[in-house]
Symmetry: C2
Subunit: 231 residues, 2 copies
Protein backbone atom coordinates (compact mmCIF):
# COMPACT_ATOMS: atom_id res chain seq x y z
CA UNK A 1 0.00 0.00 0.00
CA UNK A 2 1.46 3.26 -1.11
CA UNK A 3 1.49 5.51 1.89
CA UNK A 4 1.51 8.97 0.45
CA UNK A 5 4.11 11.50 1.39
CA UNK A 6 3.87 12.74 4.93
CA UNK A 7 2.89 16.36 5.49
CA UNK A 8 6.45 17.01 6.42
CA UNK A 9 7.74 15.65 3.15
CA UNK A 10 5.22 17.73 1.29
CA UNK A 11 6.33 20.85 3.09
CA UNK A 12 9.93 20.03 2.37
CA UNK A 13 9.56 19.58 -1.35
CA UNK A 14 7.40 22.67 -1.42
CA UNK A 15 10.10 24.65 0.34
CA UNK A 16 12.77 23.32 -1.96
CA UNK A 17 10.71 24.41 -4.92
CA UNK A 18 10.31 27.85 -3.46
CA UNK A 19 14.00 28.16 -2.78
CA UNK A 20 14.80 27.21 -6.34
CA UNK A 21 12.24 29.61 -7.69
CA UNK A 22 13.63 32.47 -5.66
CA UNK A 23 17.15 31.49 -6.63
CA UNK A 24 16.22 31.59 -10.29
CA UNK A 25 14.59 34.95 -10.00
CA UNK A 26 17.65 36.22 -8.20
CA UNK A 27 19.85 34.70 -10.87
CA UNK A 28 18.12 36.61 -13.61
CA UNK A 29 19.40 39.89 -12.26
CA UNK A 30 22.76 38.85 -10.89
CA UNK A 31 24.99 35.87 -11.63
CA UNK A 32 25.74 32.52 -10.11
CA UNK A 33 28.69 33.79 -8.17
CA UNK A 34 26.54 36.35 -6.41
CA UNK A 35 23.65 34.15 -5.51
CA UNK A 36 22.74 35.07 -1.96
CA UNK A 37 21.31 32.43 0.32
CA UNK A 38 20.58 35.05 2.92
CA UNK A 39 18.46 37.00 0.49
CA UNK A 40 16.51 33.87 -0.34
CA UNK A 41 15.97 33.13 3.32
CA UNK A 42 14.81 36.67 3.85
CA UNK A 43 12.22 36.46 1.12
CA UNK A 44 11.17 33.15 2.55
CA UNK A 45 10.58 34.71 5.96
CA UNK A 46 13.05 32.39 7.46
CA UNK A 47 16.19 32.99 9.42
CA UNK A 48 19.33 32.80 7.33
CA UNK A 49 20.74 29.68 8.86
CA UNK A 50 17.54 27.70 8.33
CA UNK A 51 18.16 27.48 4.61
CA UNK A 52 21.05 25.15 5.28
CA UNK A 53 18.51 22.51 6.24
CA UNK A 54 17.63 22.36 2.53
CA UNK A 55 20.91 22.97 0.83
CA UNK A 56 24.03 22.51 2.83
CA UNK A 57 25.96 25.03 0.78
CA UNK A 58 25.51 27.51 -1.99
CA UNK A 59 27.31 25.22 -4.41
CA UNK A 60 24.77 22.53 -3.73
CA UNK A 61 21.95 24.86 -4.65
CA UNK A 62 23.75 25.88 -7.79
CA UNK A 63 24.26 22.25 -8.71
CA UNK A 64 20.55 21.67 -8.36
CA UNK A 65 19.85 24.62 -10.60
CA UNK A 66 22.29 23.32 -13.18
CA UNK A 67 20.69 19.91 -13.21
CA UNK A 68 17.28 21.49 -13.62
CA UNK A 69 18.53 23.67 -16.44
CA UNK A 70 19.99 20.72 -18.32
CA UNK A 71 16.78 18.79 -17.89
CA UNK A 72 14.69 21.70 -18.98
CA UNK A 73 16.78 22.39 -22.04
CA UNK A 74 16.95 18.71 -22.83
CA UNK A 75 13.19 18.41 -22.72
CA UNK A 76 12.78 21.44 -24.94
CA UNK A 77 15.12 19.96 -27.52
CA UNK A 78 13.44 16.59 -27.35
CA UNK A 79 10.08 18.15 -28.05
CA UNK A 80 11.38 20.23 -30.92
CA UNK A 81 13.13 17.31 -32.56
CA UNK A 82 10.53 14.62 -31.97
CA UNK A 83 10.11 12.23 -34.86
CA UNK A 84 7.08 13.03 -36.98
CA UNK A 85 6.12 13.90 -40.50
CA UNK A 86 8.59 16.74 -40.87
CA UNK A 87 11.72 16.02 -42.81
CA UNK A 88 15.01 15.52 -41.03
CA UNK A 89 16.36 18.83 -42.14
CA UNK A 90 13.38 20.58 -40.65
CA UNK A 91 13.61 18.67 -37.40
CA UNK A 92 17.27 19.57 -37.18
CA UNK A 93 16.66 23.27 -37.63
CA UNK A 94 13.72 23.16 -35.24
CA UNK A 95 15.96 21.60 -32.64
CA UNK A 96 18.62 24.23 -33.10
CA UNK A 97 16.07 27.00 -32.99
CA UNK A 98 14.60 25.55 -29.84
CA UNK A 99 17.99 25.74 -28.26
CA UNK A 100 18.38 29.36 -29.21
CA UNK A 101 14.90 30.22 -28.02
CA UNK A 102 15.58 28.59 -24.69
CA UNK A 103 18.88 30.41 -24.42
CA UNK A 104 17.34 33.75 -25.25
CA UNK A 105 14.46 33.18 -22.87
CA UNK A 106 16.70 32.12 -20.03
CA UNK A 107 20.13 33.56 -20.68
CA UNK A 108 21.23 33.19 -17.08
CA UNK A 109 20.38 29.50 -17.08
CA UNK A 110 22.17 29.02 -20.36
CA UNK A 111 25.19 30.74 -18.85
CA UNK A 112 24.86 28.41 -15.91
CA UNK A 113 25.37 25.34 -18.04
CA UNK A 114 27.38 26.52 -21.04
CA UNK A 115 28.91 29.68 -19.69
CA UNK A 116 32.25 29.96 -18.04
CA UNK A 117 32.75 27.81 -15.03
CA UNK A 118 31.57 29.19 -11.71
CA UNK A 119 34.17 30.56 -9.25
CA UNK A 120 35.69 27.71 -7.38
CA UNK A 121 32.79 25.52 -8.28
CA UNK A 122 33.45 21.99 -9.43
CA UNK A 123 30.75 20.20 -11.35
CA UNK A 124 29.83 17.11 -9.39
CA UNK A 125 28.84 13.78 -10.83
CA UNK A 126 25.16 14.66 -10.73
CA UNK A 127 25.39 17.03 -13.64
CA UNK A 128 26.90 14.79 -16.26
CA UNK A 129 23.85 12.65 -16.95
CA UNK A 130 21.55 15.63 -17.56
CA UNK A 131 24.28 17.21 -19.67
CA UNK A 132 24.30 14.08 -21.76
CA UNK A 133 20.58 14.32 -22.21
CA UNK A 134 21.02 17.66 -23.94
CA UNK A 135 23.64 16.30 -26.29
CA UNK A 136 21.49 13.28 -27.06
CA UNK A 137 18.49 15.43 -27.80
CA UNK A 138 20.58 17.71 -29.96
CA UNK A 139 21.96 14.89 -32.06
CA UNK A 140 18.79 12.86 -31.94
CA UNK A 141 17.02 14.12 -35.04
CA UNK A 142 19.94 13.46 -37.34
CA UNK A 143 21.66 10.28 -36.22
CA UNK A 144 19.24 8.05 -38.10
CA UNK A 145 20.06 9.72 -41.34
CA UNK A 146 23.77 9.70 -40.62
CA UNK A 147 23.61 6.00 -39.85
CA UNK A 148 22.02 5.13 -43.15
CA UNK A 149 24.38 7.26 -45.20
CA UNK A 150 27.58 6.11 -43.61
CA UNK A 151 29.88 7.07 -46.37
CA UNK A 152 28.37 10.20 -47.67
CA UNK A 153 29.39 12.41 -44.80
CA UNK A 154 33.06 13.11 -45.02
CA UNK A 155 32.70 14.71 -48.35
CA UNK A 156 31.78 18.08 -47.04
CA UNK A 157 35.20 19.43 -46.37
CA UNK A 158 36.25 17.13 -43.55
CA UNK A 159 39.68 15.64 -43.90
CA UNK A 160 40.26 12.06 -42.94
CA UNK A 161 40.85 11.98 -39.17
CA UNK A 162 44.28 10.95 -37.96
CA UNK A 163 44.84 7.98 -35.70
CA UNK A 164 44.50 9.78 -32.37
CA UNK A 165 41.39 11.65 -33.37
CA UNK A 166 39.91 8.55 -34.91
CA UNK A 167 40.21 6.74 -31.61
CA UNK A 168 38.63 9.58 -29.69
CA UNK A 169 35.79 9.81 -32.14
CA UNK A 170 35.12 6.12 -31.80
CA UNK A 171 35.12 6.38 -28.03
CA UNK A 172 32.67 9.24 -28.24
CA UNK A 173 30.49 7.39 -30.71
CA UNK A 174 30.40 4.54 -28.25
CA UNK A 175 29.76 6.72 -25.22
CA UNK A 176 26.86 8.49 -26.85
CA UNK A 177 25.53 5.39 -28.54
CA UNK A 178 25.44 7.07 -31.89
CA UNK A 179 26.70 4.29 -34.12
CA UNK A 180 27.70 6.60 -36.91
CA UNK A 181 30.94 7.03 -38.77
CA UNK A 182 33.84 8.90 -37.13
CA UNK A 183 33.51 11.71 -39.62
CA UNK A 184 29.84 11.98 -38.78
CA UNK A 185 30.71 12.30 -35.10
CA UNK A 186 33.14 15.00 -36.06
CA UNK A 187 30.50 16.81 -38.06
CA UNK A 188 28.04 16.58 -35.19
CA UNK A 189 30.53 17.96 -32.70
CA UNK A 190 31.40 20.70 -35.15
CA UNK A 191 27.78 21.67 -35.43
CA UNK A 192 27.37 21.61 -31.68
CA UNK A 193 30.43 23.78 -31.19
CA UNK A 194 29.24 26.30 -33.71
CA UNK A 195 25.78 26.53 -32.21
CA UNK A 196 27.12 26.93 -28.69
CA UNK A 197 29.64 29.44 -29.93
CA UNK A 198 27.07 31.46 -31.80
CA UNK A 199 24.79 31.56 -28.77
CA UNK A 200 27.65 32.44 -26.45
CA UNK A 201 28.67 35.30 -28.68
CA UNK A 202 25.14 36.54 -29.12
CA UNK A 203 24.22 36.37 -25.45
CA UNK A 204 27.35 38.16 -24.39
CA UNK A 205 26.97 40.90 -26.92
CA UNK A 206 29.92 40.02 -29.10
CA UNK A 207 28.10 40.41 -32.38
CA UNK A 208 29.51 43.69 -33.44
CA UNK A 209 26.36 45.74 -33.19
CA UNK A 210 25.26 44.73 -36.64
CA UNK A 211 23.24 41.68 -35.72
CA UNK A 212 20.19 42.65 -33.78
CA UNK A 213 18.34 40.44 -33.85
CA UNK A 214 20.64 37.62 -34.85
CA UNK A 215 17.82 35.37 -36.02
CA UNK A 216 18.84 35.32 -39.63
CA UNK A 217 22.50 34.79 -38.82
CA UNK A 218 21.71 31.87 -36.57
CA UNK A 219 19.41 30.36 -39.15
CA UNK A 220 22.13 30.64 -41.73
CA UNK A 221 24.51 28.76 -39.47
CA UNK A 222 21.95 26.07 -38.82
CA UNK A 223 21.14 25.71 -42.47
CA UNK A 224 24.80 25.49 -43.31
CA UNK A 225 25.39 22.80 -40.74
CA UNK A 226 22.46 20.86 -42.12
CA UNK A 227 24.10 20.91 -45.50
CA UNK A 228 27.42 19.86 -44.02
CA UNK A 229 25.69 16.97 -42.29
CA UNK A 230 24.24 15.91 -45.58
CA UNK A 231 20.62 16.41 -44.58
Amino acid sequence: MAKGPTPREVARTENIARIKRLALSQLSSTSAGELSLRAIARELNIVSSAIYRYYSSRDELITALIVDAYDDLGRALEEAGAADRRGVRRRWSDTCRAMREWALAEPHRFALVYGSAIPGYRAPQDTIAPAGRVVDAFFGPVVDVLRSSRDEVGVNGWSRPGRVLLGQLEVTDEALGLEVSPTAVLALLGAFARVIGALTLELNGHFVGGFEPADALFDAFVDHEATLLGL
Copy 2:
Protein backbone atom coordinates in the same frame (compact mmCIF):
# COMPACT_ATOMS: atom_id res chain seq x y z
CA MET B 1 61.56 69.64 -22.89
CA ALA B 2 60.18 66.34 -21.80
CA LYS B 3 59.98 66.40 -18.06
CA GLY B 4 60.00 62.80 -17.04
CA PRO B 5 57.31 61.33 -14.86
CA THR B 6 57.39 62.49 -11.29
CA PRO B 7 58.26 59.96 -8.62
CA ARG B 8 54.65 59.94 -7.65
CA GLU B 9 53.53 59.04 -11.15
CA VAL B 10 56.11 56.30 -11.25
CA ALA B 11 54.86 54.90 -7.98
CA ARG B 12 51.31 55.09 -9.23
CA THR B 13 51.83 53.16 -12.42
CA GLU B 14 53.95 50.71 -10.49
CA ASN B 15 51.17 50.19 -7.99
CA ILE B 16 48.59 49.81 -10.70
CA ALA B 17 50.72 47.15 -12.31
CA ARG B 18 51.04 45.34 -9.01
CA ILE B 19 47.34 45.50 -8.38
CA LYS B 20 46.64 44.02 -11.78
CA ARG B 21 49.20 41.32 -11.27
CA LEU B 22 47.75 40.33 -7.94
CA ALA B 23 44.25 40.47 -9.37
CA LEU B 24 45.26 38.12 -12.16
CA SER B 25 46.85 35.67 -9.80
CA GLN B 26 43.76 35.79 -7.66
CA LEU B 27 41.62 35.30 -10.73
CA SER B 28 43.39 32.11 -11.62
CA SER B 29 42.07 30.40 -8.54
CA THR B 30 38.69 32.03 -8.19
CA SER B 31 36.51 33.87 -10.69
CA ALA B 32 35.74 37.42 -11.65
CA GLY B 33 32.75 37.61 -9.39
CA GLU B 34 34.86 36.73 -6.38
CA LEU B 35 37.73 39.05 -6.99
CA SER B 36 38.54 40.55 -3.62
CA LEU B 37 39.94 44.04 -3.47
CA ARG B 38 40.59 43.62 0.23
CA ALA B 39 42.75 40.58 -0.42
CA ILE B 40 44.74 42.51 -2.97
CA ALA B 41 45.22 45.37 -0.57
CA ARG B 42 46.32 42.91 2.07
CA GLU B 43 48.98 41.39 -0.13
CA LEU B 44 50.04 44.88 -1.04
CA ASN B 45 50.53 45.76 2.61
CA ILE B 46 48.05 48.50 2.30
CA VAL B 47 44.86 49.25 4.11
CA SER B 48 41.77 48.11 2.27
CA SER B 49 40.38 51.53 1.56
CA ALA B 50 43.60 52.74 -0.03
CA ILE B 51 43.05 50.62 -3.09
CA TYR B 52 40.17 52.81 -4.11
CA ARG B 53 42.69 55.49 -4.98
CA TYR B 54 43.65 53.30 -7.91
CA TYR B 55 40.40 51.73 -8.95
CA SER B 56 37.25 53.33 -7.74
CA SER B 57 35.35 50.07 -7.81
CA ARG B 58 35.82 46.41 -8.43
CA ASP B 59 34.09 46.68 -11.77
CA GLU B 60 36.64 49.23 -12.87
CA LEU B 61 39.46 46.85 -12.05
CA ILE B 62 37.71 44.07 -13.93
CA THR B 63 37.25 46.34 -16.92
CA ALA B 64 40.98 47.05 -16.92
CA LEU B 65 41.69 43.33 -16.80
CA ILE B 66 39.32 42.71 -19.68
CA VAL B 67 40.95 45.38 -21.81
CA ASP B 68 44.35 43.92 -21.06
CA ALA B 69 43.14 40.44 -21.93
CA TYR B 70 41.77 41.54 -25.27
CA ASP B 71 44.98 43.35 -26.05
CA ASP B 72 47.07 40.42 -25.03
CA LEU B 73 45.04 37.94 -27.03
CA GLY B 74 44.94 40.32 -29.97
CA ARG B 75 48.69 40.64 -29.95
CA ALA B 76 49.14 36.89 -29.78
CA LEU B 77 46.89 36.40 -32.77
CA GLU B 78 48.61 39.15 -34.71
CA GLU B 79 51.96 37.54 -34.18
CA ALA B 80 50.72 34.11 -35.14
CA GLY B 81 49.05 35.34 -38.30
CA ALA B 82 51.66 37.82 -39.45
CA ALA B 83 52.19 37.87 -43.19
CA ASP B 84 55.28 35.96 -44.23
CA ARG B 85 56.35 33.08 -46.40
CA ARG B 86 53.86 30.61 -44.99
CA GLY B 87 50.80 29.92 -47.05
CA VAL B 88 47.46 31.38 -46.06
CA ARG B 89 46.10 28.11 -44.90
CA ARG B 90 49.03 27.72 -42.54
CA ARG B 91 48.70 31.25 -41.22
CA TRP B 92 45.03 30.63 -40.59
CA SER B 93 45.61 27.49 -38.61
CA ASP B 94 48.48 29.09 -36.73
CA THR B 95 46.18 31.92 -35.75
CA CYS B 96 43.49 29.55 -34.54
CA ARG B 97 46.01 27.49 -32.65
CA ALA B 98 47.41 30.62 -31.06
CA MET B 99 43.96 31.43 -29.81
CA ARG B 100 43.58 28.00 -28.30
CA GLU B 101 46.99 28.11 -26.73
CA TRP B 102 46.25 31.45 -25.19
CA ALA B 103 42.92 30.18 -23.92
CA LEU B 104 44.47 27.07 -22.43
CA ALA B 105 47.29 29.01 -20.86
CA GLU B 106 44.97 31.62 -19.38
CA PRO B 107 41.55 30.07 -19.08
CA HIS B 108 40.35 32.58 -16.55
CA ARG B 109 41.25 35.47 -18.81
CA PHE B 110 39.56 33.78 -21.73
CA ALA B 111 36.49 33.36 -19.57
CA LEU B 112 36.75 37.02 -18.71
CA VAL B 113 36.32 38.08 -22.31
CA TYR B 114 34.40 35.25 -23.96
CA GLY B 115 32.79 33.61 -21.00
CA SER B 116 29.41 34.39 -19.63
CA ALA B 117 28.84 37.94 -18.62
CA ILE B 118 29.95 38.93 -15.17
CA PRO B 119 27.34 39.36 -12.43
CA GLY B 120 25.77 42.74 -12.77
CA TYR B 121 28.71 43.94 -14.77
CA ARG B 122 28.08 45.98 -17.88
CA ALA B 123 30.84 46.20 -20.45
CA PRO B 124 31.74 49.85 -20.81
CA GLN B 125 32.79 51.58 -23.98
CA ASP B 126 36.46 50.98 -23.28
CA THR B 127 36.27 47.31 -24.08
CA ILE B 128 34.85 47.42 -27.57
CA ALA B 129 37.93 48.67 -29.35
CA PRO B 130 40.23 45.98 -27.91
CA ALA B 131 37.54 43.40 -28.65
CA GLY B 132 37.62 44.52 -32.25
CA ARG B 133 41.34 44.08 -32.34
CA VAL B 134 40.91 40.40 -31.61
CA VAL B 135 38.37 39.94 -34.36
CA ASP B 136 40.57 41.84 -36.78
CA ALA B 137 43.57 39.74 -35.92
CA PHE B 138 41.52 36.59 -36.24
CA PHE B 139 40.23 37.44 -39.68
CA GLY B 140 43.42 39.15 -40.80
CA PRO B 141 45.27 36.22 -42.35
CA VAL B 142 42.42 35.26 -44.64
CA VAL B 143 40.71 38.43 -45.81
CA ASP B 144 43.19 39.02 -48.59
CA VAL B 145 42.46 35.68 -50.10
CA LEU B 146 38.74 36.11 -49.67
CA ARG B 147 38.93 39.45 -51.38
CA SER B 148 40.63 38.08 -54.46
CA SER B 149 38.32 35.08 -54.77
CA ARG B 150 35.09 36.95 -54.35
CA ASP B 151 32.87 34.45 -55.99
CA GLU B 152 34.38 31.21 -54.97
CA VAL B 153 33.24 31.32 -51.39
CA GLY B 154 29.57 30.58 -51.24
CA VAL B 155 30.01 27.25 -52.83
CA ASN B 156 30.86 25.46 -49.66
CA GLY B 157 27.40 24.79 -48.40
CA TRP B 158 26.29 28.32 -47.68
CA SER B 159 22.89 29.22 -49.00
CA ARG B 160 22.30 32.61 -50.51
CA PRO B 161 21.62 35.02 -47.62
CA GLY B 162 18.15 36.53 -47.47
CA ARG B 163 17.54 40.24 -47.56
CA VAL B 164 17.76 40.95 -43.85
CA LEU B 165 20.87 38.91 -43.35
CA LEU B 166 22.44 40.38 -46.44
CA GLY B 167 22.04 43.86 -45.04
CA GLN B 168 23.54 42.87 -41.69
CA LEU B 169 26.46 41.18 -43.38
CA GLU B 170 27.15 44.29 -45.41
CA VAL B 171 27.03 46.45 -42.31
CA THR B 172 29.45 44.12 -40.60
CA ASP B 173 31.73 44.04 -43.61
CA GLU B 174 31.77 47.81 -43.50
CA ALA B 175 32.29 48.01 -39.75
CA LEU B 176 35.23 45.65 -39.82
CA GLY B 177 36.65 47.04 -43.02
CA LEU B 178 36.82 43.60 -44.58
CA GLU B 179 35.67 44.35 -48.09
CA VAL B 180 34.74 40.79 -48.85
CA SER B 181 31.53 39.26 -50.12
CA PRO B 182 28.58 38.78 -47.76
CA THR B 183 28.97 35.04 -47.92
CA ALA B 184 32.60 35.41 -46.98
CA VAL B 185 31.61 37.46 -43.94
CA LEU B 186 29.19 34.72 -43.07
CA ALA B 187 31.87 32.08 -43.41
CA LEU B 188 34.25 34.10 -41.25
CA LEU B 189 31.65 34.55 -38.53
CA GLY B 190 30.82 30.89 -38.72
CA ALA B 191 34.45 30.00 -38.24
CA PHE B 192 34.75 32.40 -35.34
CA ALA B 193 31.65 30.99 -33.70
CA ARG B 194 32.90 27.44 -34.03
CA VAL B 195 36.31 28.25 -32.63
CA ILE B 196 34.85 30.14 -29.68
CA GLY B 197 32.34 27.37 -29.15
CA ALA B 198 34.96 24.65 -29.26
CA LEU B 199 37.14 26.50 -26.77
CA THR B 200 34.20 27.25 -24.51
CA LEU B 201 33.22 23.61 -24.47
CA GLU B 202 36.76 22.40 -23.93
CA LEU B 203 37.57 24.84 -21.15
CA ASN B 204 34.39 24.09 -19.30
CA GLY B 205 34.82 20.37 -19.53
CA HIS B 206 31.95 19.65 -21.88
CA PHE B 207 33.85 17.30 -24.12
CA VAL B 208 32.44 14.09 -22.90
CA GLY B 209 35.56 12.67 -21.33
CA GLY B 210 36.74 11.31 -24.62
CA PHE B 211 38.77 14.26 -25.77
CA GLU B 212 41.76 14.76 -23.56
CA PRO B 213 43.63 16.44 -24.96
CA ALA B 214 41.40 17.98 -27.58
CA ASP B 215 44.27 19.05 -29.80
CA ALA B 216 43.35 16.81 -32.68
CA LEU B 217 39.69 17.69 -32.48
CA PHE B 218 40.44 21.38 -32.54
CA ASP B 219 42.84 20.98 -35.42
CA ALA B 220 40.19 19.10 -37.36
CA PHE B 221 37.76 21.96 -36.84
CA VAL B 222 40.33 24.49 -37.94
CA ASP B 223 41.26 22.48 -41.00
CA HIS B 224 37.63 22.09 -41.89
CA GLU B 225 36.98 25.80 -41.59
CA ALA B 226 40.00 26.47 -43.80
CA THR B 227 38.45 24.29 -46.45
CA LEU B 228 35.10 26.00 -46.06
CA LEU B 229 36.80 29.36 -46.46
CA GLY B 230 38.38 28.14 -49.64
CA LEU B 231 41.95 28.43 -48.42
